[in-house]
């Protein structure tokens, strides 16, 4: 930045950089200037005129009041924000703004937290001079998340600019002119974007309000409690608005290093799942096949006895990566004290053959903010906008600033920025990656060497390699592995090639942790090869082995076995074969009741204190905001009591902070490092089949809480109608037409589903979503499917 200059605002000397706007400097100094259209994260529009101030430059006053948001400063400038001239201008603007604004504050959801209301108190007249009729604007339907009252709109265009600049979809606009100007889509279609609800926060009036929480609470009844979002690797900072022990709504909390001022719709509305009708509120015990409500001591005594008597090698612990650090740490401690090392949190991975050489503590590889400054990004196996909306936003910022973005996926993903997409079936992904690595001059031995030797790079591969090498030279190239890579049947091989490519291009390798605590789980030791502090240890069983080895005792923490695991068929099978399944869950579901023998109710999200370690390794601690319903208890307390019942030494924790401090001490010398911990290994047999299923987890199906947030479930997202999505050419080759139904056979499961044409899907692949009820009988998320046969569409029968 160039040299600082000094200007004077309201008689105070302020240091500032040349070219900054007056309002930026004033905000930094804590001098308040009223504004509606200005927002620091959006471009400057200067159309509300509320921030008019009086200014002079070099002793010469500006002839008119100037908008503080759009007037760059210069050395020696003097600004008065409260002078009679400035106040008069601001009052004049206020009067004009109020001309067409309805006086319906008592029935407006924004009442009490409305910027217009606040500023009107400061600058508005007490009696309106406007005697004419006010205009009325027809509402638009923006979908189930955003309620509109467009008559209240003061046309600040913040929402228009948000959609264009941040969301990257120019859907809203200001059409018409003068008094007829209105903000909307003009052609009436729902605003459909994973960050769309941020326009609710941006709207300075009550024109855009949150539909799910509308008319349920007044701003002054709510208490704000800080929280951390549990749905992706970002760990967005939240403000939970609580009334009488209930989360009424969720707003973002500013943190430039994590979520800036935004949150995804998933983080904003997931709280709606808290009051789901199928909350588990009492401990349940299955006796002779019948569920019975029991008290905690009966349930926990029973659990402790079974755990004590179970042979440790015959026991498996599957822990959800959305669990808190404290829960994960205590759970693995319990398991290890019992002599069991079969602990895993990697629920959506099928290829564990690279475990021995995995980095000790994998992470994003850069800080979240640093994503923006990359010059080249290679996204392998990730539908980033669906998986991590706010990381996708950072990547978009990098792309808009000129970075090269490349993607390698089994389907073409929806992006709101330019990108080079390589699309191919899972086996083609491997050969594509090898071709890029070869073009970049990578070398390797064994399978990697063979793949490199047989690769035939196309010009597109060469261009990608060049982009990575150029960025690598300035240390700003990044290769990221996402959750479609994690679920890939040759994940270890993908990793090997990614590391070979990284070495050849001097790029870094990063992992996109799928869940809120995927990174934390390594620190907590919730991994068959890691002790707390991510210290290596001899291997226990991985998720796949736990499910396939017919273990006698299973512990499921925060998991719905038919939805949260990469291979639901084998998960349900494992539960059926086990003698005793202990499920700690916030929800009950038929599948869980079928699978488990005891159900322990635990708190979720805002109901428990805890810590999440986000993608970039930041520890974020939060307090419980509301009590869990009924007899449910925070998870770490359940584990503490269980530890005491098992007579484990040193389990008398006073509070969650003590657990965390104990773990933090163990993690004192842990380093985030994506370098392989040993020479890379992988099973080398390439998974190939005539027809491969590729199953992404839809954005609103990632965890049990989200799946119960109804308004999110009502959103029409891409491929949200369940079915088999095939490339049109693929479908033609199979002799299918668009209205056909097909039978899918995978593992031992079989389902029928409608077939849809979708040219984004790679040839040789069928997209069948994972993590949802409809596909819960199938096997691997990405894997061979046996046959596709034309069947008759089911006729509707039975009662509704």
């Amino acid at each position: 930045m160039t040299d600082k200059i000094t200007i004077e605002i309201d008689g105070r000397a302020c240091e500032a950089a040349p070219g900054e706007m007056i309002i930026t400097v004033a905000d930094r100094m804590g001098i308040s200037i009223p504004r509606f259209c200005y927002h620091k994260k959006l471009s400057i529009a200067a159309n509300c005129r509320m921030c008019l101030v009086e200014a002079e430059q070099g002793g010469r006053p500006f002839p008119k009041p100037v908008p503080a948001c759009a007037t760059p400063i210069a050395a020696g400038m003097k600004v008065w924000t409260r002078s009679p001239k400035a106040i008069e201008a601001q009052q004049g603007t206020m009067e004009f703004l109020l001309i067409n604004h309805p006086l319906d504050c008592p029935i407006c959801d924004q009442g009490g937290e409305c910027e217009l209301q606040d500023v009107a108190v400061g600058y508005g007249g007490d009696v309106s001079r406007f005697a004419e009729g006010k205009r009325v604007v027809e509402d638009e339907d923006f979908g189930p998340l955003i309620a509109t009252d467009m008559t209240r709109c003061i046309q600040c265009t913040r929402c228009v600019r948000f959609c264009a600049e941040i969301a990257g979809v120019r859907e809203l606009g200001a059409t018409g002119r003068g008094e007829d100007m209105r903000v909307g889509t003009f052609v009436a279609h729902a605003v459909n974007h994973e960050l769309s609800s941020n326009i609710i926060d941006l709207c300075p009036v009550g024109a855009l309000t949150a539909k799910p929480s509308r008319f349920t609470a007044r701003a002054w009844e709510l208490t704000g409690v800080d929280g951390i979002a549990p749905h992706d690797g970002v760990g967005s900072n939240l403000s939970l608005h609580i009334r009488r022990g209930q989360v009424m709504r969720v707003h973002p909390r500013e943190n430039d290093a994590v979520n800036e001022t935004w949150i995804s719709d998933r983080d904003r509305y997931s709280y709606l799942g808290l009051n789901s009708a199928d909350r588990l509120t009492v401990p349940l015990l299955k006796q002779q096949g019948v569920w019975r409500e029991v008290d905690w001591s009966t349930a926990l005594t029973q659990v402790a006895e079974r755990l004590k008597s179970a042979p440790p090698a015959e026991m498996g612990w599957l822990l959800s990566p959305t669990a808190t650090l404290e829960e994960l740490y205590l759970a693995q401690r319990l398991a290890r004290e019992l002599g069991c090392a079969n602990i895993d949190h990697r629920l959506r991975q099928q290829d564990f053959s690279g475990d021995a050489s995995d980095p000790l503590l994998p992470w994003l590889g850069v800080s979240i903010a640093e994503l923006e400054s990359q010059r080249s990004l290679f996204l392998i196996g990730t539908d980033l906008r669906q998986e991590q909306p706010l990381l996708a936003h950072r990547v978009r910022k990098a792309a808009v600033a000129g970075a090269q973005v490349m993607c390698l996926n089994p389907l073409q993903i929806d992006l709101n920025h330019p990108a080079q997409q390589f699309v191919g079936a899972p086996a083609t992904m491997i050969t594509d990656l090898a071709a890029i690595a070869q073009a970049a001059g990578a070398s390797g031995s064994g399978t990697v060497g063979e793949l490199l030797a047989t690769a035939t790079p196309t010009p597109a591969h060469v261009a990608a390699a060049t982009a990575l090498r150029d960025a690598g030279q300035s240390a700003s190239g990044l290769i990221l592995l996402g959750s479609l890579a994690t679920a890939h049947p040759n994940f270890a091989l993908l990793k090997m090639l990614a590391y070979a490519l990284a070495a050849a291009t001097q790029c870094r390798v990063g992992y996109l942790p799928a869940a809120a605590n995927s990174v934390g789980a390594y620190l907590a030791g919730a991994h068959p090869r890691r002790l707390p502090g991510a210290k290596p240890i001899a291997a226990g069983l991985t998720t796949a082995e736990i499910l396939n080895n017919a273990l006698k005792t299973l512990v499921l923490w925060g998991i719905e076995p038919e939805l949260d695991l990469e291979n639901p068929a084998s998960a349900l099978n494992a539960c059926a074969k086990a003698d005793f399944v202990i499920a700690c869950s916030a929800f009950r579901s038929p599948a869980l009741e079928n699978a488990a023998d005891v159900l322990l109710p635990i708190g979720i999200f805002a109901e428990t204190s805890g810590t999440y370690v986000n993608a970039s390794g930041t520890w974020q601690r939060f307090q419980g905001a509301i009590p869990p319903p009924g007899e449910a208890r925070p998870g770490w307390k359940v584990l503490r009591v269980l530890g005491n019942l098992l007579d484990i030494q040193g389990f008398n924790y006073q509070d969650g902070a003590q657990v965390r401090d104990e773990l933090a001490a163990l993690c004192a010398d842990s380093q985030f490092d994506n370098a392989p911990s040993a020479e890379l290994v992988a099973h080398t047999e390439l998974m190939q089949a005539d027809m491969m299923r590729i199953g992404g987890v839809p954005i609103y199906a990632t965890d049990p809480l989200i799946r119960r947030a109804l308004p999110l479930q009502q959103l029409p997202m891409t491929r949200s109608v369940f079915g088999v999505y095939l490339h049109p050419n693929q479908a033609t080759a199979l002799g299918l037409i668009a209205t056909d139904w097909v039978r899918i056979h995978q593992a031992n499961g079989e389902i029928t589903a409608p077939c849809f044409f979708d040219e984004h899907i790679a040839m040789g692949c069928a997209y069948i979503a994972a993590g949802i009820e409809a596909s819960a009988l199938l096997g691997n998320q990405i894997g061979a499917i046996d046959l596709l046969v034309k069947v008759a569409a089911p006729t509707r029968t039975g009662t509704r």
């Binding site: 070219g19 959006l42 471009s43 600049e165 059409t175 003009f186 052609v187």
Partner: protein, 175 residues
């Protein structure tokens, strides 16, 4: 964040040679050539005029979408332009457009008399088409012809210093 200095372009992947007729495409390309290469969308206003003239004087949403596709810009940006300016019409029009200036100079020189005259004589109101479909009556903002007020624009031709009688003659001369 400071002012935007790059166009908000949206690449439309449709076949551009299937949009409009070849004559219109050539005319639009000539317009685009007047602007820097990455500012194609600067040509949106003359393009809309061209497209409107080729469609009996009005624009449909489909035509606006086609303009957006051709100029690689977001559809809503085209709607914004087309709804803002009075010279674009989004409803079917008569064979001709009689546009009477309603701004201050013309008003002082009797444009309201002209308007009332046309309204009563041809039984048509602003933004309506005459029963025989001969012309649409429009009331427009300042035509910039204050020195010859009151001014009326018929289709693309300006007529100045008009009286009800001389305007009648002009209207009678319309096909």
């Amino acid at each position: 964040m400071s002012f935007r200095n790059a166009p908000l372009a949206v690449t439309h992947s449709c076949d551009k040679s299937a949009i409009f007729t070849s004559e219109i495409r050539a005319a639009i390309d000539a317009l685009i050539a007047k602007y820097p290469t990455d500012w194609k969308q600067s040509a949106v206003m003359p393009t809309l005029t061209l497209v409107q003239d080729a469609n009996d004087g009005w624009l449909t949403t489909e035509l606006m979408n086609a303009v957006a596709a051709y100029l690689d810009m977001p559809e809503v940006s085209v709607y914004e332009v087309a709804t803002f300016y009075g010279m674009y019409d989004l409803e079917p029009q008569g064979k001709h457009k009689v546009c009477i200036c309603n701004s201050v100079s013309c008003l002082l020189r009797g444009s309201d008399t002209l308007l009332h005259h046309v309204e009563s004589k041809y039984n048509v109101h602003p933004n309506e088409i005459t029963a025989d479909g001969r012309f649409t009556l429009k009331e427009v903002e300042c035509l910039g012809a204050c020195c010859g007020a009151p001014a009326v624009m018929i289709d693309k031709q300006y007529y100045e210093n008009l009286s009800p009688g001389s305007l009648d003659k002009l209207i009678d001369g319309l096909e």
